[in-house]
């Protein structure tokens, strides 16, 4: 029974990883790619790690999977934030069809 649940969780995780990477290839600019890739790959990897926990139970491997999940959940939004800020400051433009860019207006006002 727990094997079935573990395999369902791991399958969903792998599916989300795949979708995130498809988004990384399909979407039009850096910020949209960051959105798709960060969210989907973070959740996908976390689900794989939860699946590992369910599959092996609470032993050394399961606890390490939980710790690894906490680290991934804490670090991946931060690195996405750093990358978005870095690419905006490096002057990468938004997709031409974007609606608004309040950050650029703010930076223009500071100069």
């Amino acid at each position: 029974m727990s094997d079935t649940i573990a395999h369902i969780l791991i399958s969903i995780g792998v599916l989300f990883d795949l979708l995130g990477c498809v988004g990384l290839v399909r979407l039009p600019d850096v910020y949209n790619r960051l959105q798709a890739a960060t969210k989907c790959v973070t959740l996908g990897t976390c689900m794989i790690l939860i699946g590992v926990l369910v599959l092996v139970g609470f032993n050394a491997l399961g606890i390490k999977a939980v710790i690894c999940m906490v680290f991934v959940l804490l670090t991946s939004p931060t690195s996405a934030h750093a990358l978005a800020r870095g690419s905006h400051k490096a002057g990468v433009p938004l997709w031409p069809d974007s609606v608004t860019d309040k950050y650029k207006e703010r930076k223009g006002a500071e100069k």
Binding site: H7, I10, S11, G13, V14, L15, D17, L18, G20, C21, V22, L24, V25, V30, R33, L34, A37, T38, V41, T42, G44, T45, I48, L49, V52, L55, V56, N59, A60, L61, K64, A65, I67, C68, F71, V72, T75, S76, T78, S79, A80, A82, L83, R85, G86, S87, K89, A90, V92
Partner: protein, 88 residues
């Protein structure tokens, strides 16, 4: 090694190749950096599968270290993109 495990590893490999496509073809440097960051998170998934397949828990240690080191590397690259130098 069950069939399901083979399917998972194939799917993760396809994801990794899509990331490699973005790293290779990315029109701007930030695109490549995004690809590297995502590839780093995918490797943690590979480490989890390796530890299930072999039954040894030190692969998970590799996964933890990989997640943290990839985070530090991404921060350094983002700082580099921002200022074009690593002085602060």
């Amino acid at each position: 090694m069950s069939t399901l495990m083979q399917i998972y590893i194939c799917a993760l490999s396809v994801s990794a190749f899509l990331c490699l496509y973005r790293i290779g073809m990315g029109p701007t440097p930030p695109d490549r950096t995004v690809g590297i960051d995502i590839l780093g998170t995918l490797v943690v998934g590979f480490c989890a599968f390796m530890s299930i397949l072999t039954g040894k828990d030190f692969y998970m240690n590799i996964g933890i270290s990989w997640a943290l080191l990839s985070f530090v590397g991404t921060l350094a690259l983002a700082k580099f993109l921002e200022r074009r130098s690593l002085d602060e």
